[in-house]
Amino acid sequence: MTSTTVSKAESLNADLRRRLEEAEEVIRAIREGEIDALVVRNEANGEEVFTLEGGVESYRSFMEAMNLGAAAFDRFGNLLYANRALTDLVDVARDALDGPVLFTALGANGAKALRDLISAAHPATSAVEVTLGSGDGAKHLLIAAGEMTLGTNSGVAVTFTDVTARINAEKRAQAERTALAILASAVEAVVVCDLNGVVTHANASASSLAGADPIGSTFDEAFALDFRGATGLMQGGDFLDVVASGQPIQGIEAIAPRSRGAKDVLVSASALMVGEGSIGTVVTLVDLSRRKAAEKQQLLLMGELDHRVKNTLALVVSISNRTASTEETIDGFRKAFSGRIHALAATHNVLADRSWASIFLRDILSTELAPYVNELGSRLEMIGDDIEILPRAAIAFGLVVHELATNAVKYGALAIETGKIAVSVAARDTYFEVSWKEIGGPKVSMPTRRGFGNTVITRSLQYSANGGASLDFETDGVRCTIRIPVEDVVQA
């Protein structure tokens, strides 16, 4: 053989070997299911392609007819087919949708969930829920996967169901439950009205103010609020129209006549906005009863204080005038006047300590005698039960005791060591008789003129027909009989 012949034989041999390898490779690929189409040549039509599974088109037609997003993958996660509903769902153009684009569109979490589903797919369907995007525009997909066979191919059928509407409905229902719970838990009365002013929601406090369940009635019918401070310009549910037009109202006082005891309430209201539009109004009614009661009490106290200050000033002027008319020197006036003002102040102090309620006779006696007597216990003797008297009588009694004490210190029983005062109390029909008797003092003679002390004693307590006092200069000691009106004594 020539070298050319040898070379040709080798080349032919190599070509045959290559064709044999190719033929074996084709057979292997067919056996292992790696091909699904064959090229067949015939004389009439030339090359023709035959697919090994005829069902491909039919399964695609079926997928296209589905409303759900649907896709077929092979076992390796390669996208074989995706229907139009899926391209709409992930918002990708039909031509642009391939495997990588689909996985990208599902986001990192969605792509991982889908890969896990495909790799774990078995004949029984398993599903997972994924969220695309965030916020209000978030889309919720339920992805379900199951194993399937397509001719010679094993693959995975995956459906994508848009469950956004269901999830949003659940969220809305949850939000509504929360809102109702908030409404029910609110201490203040909260009322929700629709645009026609009809009450749609109300909590227990609101029902209490309405005196009945207000739901279904108009706000005006249910609550009949009386806006007395609004000069008649606003009545009933008029304010709801104002509020619904976008002008909130805050802190208008009204009376809720339907509630038990006609409560004062503070009304505030604003439009109930859902999205961009108003769907009604929210009204809150704050119970002002306690605050109003406190304000009334305060006014009462201020009136009382005013009254007392005026009375006290009148008394001080009277004391000043009477003292001036009976004292002959400036020094005498100063001493007598300041003594009497101090006596008045002392009774005031004791009364203030008791919140101007009532006071025991012994307390007044102790207070008024304290500046003059060191050992009160041995100089003052009380006979009979002590009584509690009201401020009006207490101030008068305090002044009387002051005058009696100063007189006793100057001329009577308290001027000497052994003298003492006996005070007895006896109940009579319309008054309590308090008797002041000086014992063990020097001999008493009638004063030559009637001083202020005498006037104070006899005139005080005459504000009541049942009250009064009389002074007797008995030789063994001054006796003063004071009548405390029964209406000024606290009955046990």
């Binding site: 190719e22 490779e25 091909i35 090229v39 491909v56 092979d74 996208l79 074989l80």
Partner: protein, 102 residues
């Protein structure tokens, strides 16, 4: 017929790979996706992929004597190589495509 240029072309002109498919059959789609992945991950810039749809142009099968679909053909460098099947065995594909010294 489509031509897809590979991204990130390094030195040297990329060589052409021809993938013969039959429309959208599962194996055709799988082969294309597997090939794109292998090229992107292991052979960046070395090849461009030409996809020949024999459903549309069956006569093009004659040039490379294609019998089974899908089939991948590498013409250069010689000798011509054919890889038949869905290219799911990436290792085998790489061995066939990577010639020593390249």
């Amino acid at each position: 017929m489509t031509m897809e240029d590979m991204e990130d072309q390094p030195t040297g002109t990329p060589k052409k790979l021809t993938l013969y498919v039959a429309g959208q059959t599962p194996k055709s789609l799988a082969a294309l996706q597997n090939l794109e992945r292998i090229c992107a991950e292991s052979l960046p810039g070395k090849y461009v992929i030409e996809v020949v749809d024999l459903r549309k142009s069956p006569q093009l099968a004659r040039e490379h004597g294609i019998v089974a679909i899908p089939t991948l053909v590498r013409e250069l460098p010689v000798p011509i190589r054919k890889i038949i099947g869905d290219l799911s065995n990436a290792e085998k594909v790489l061995v066939s495509l990577q010639v020593e010294g390249e």
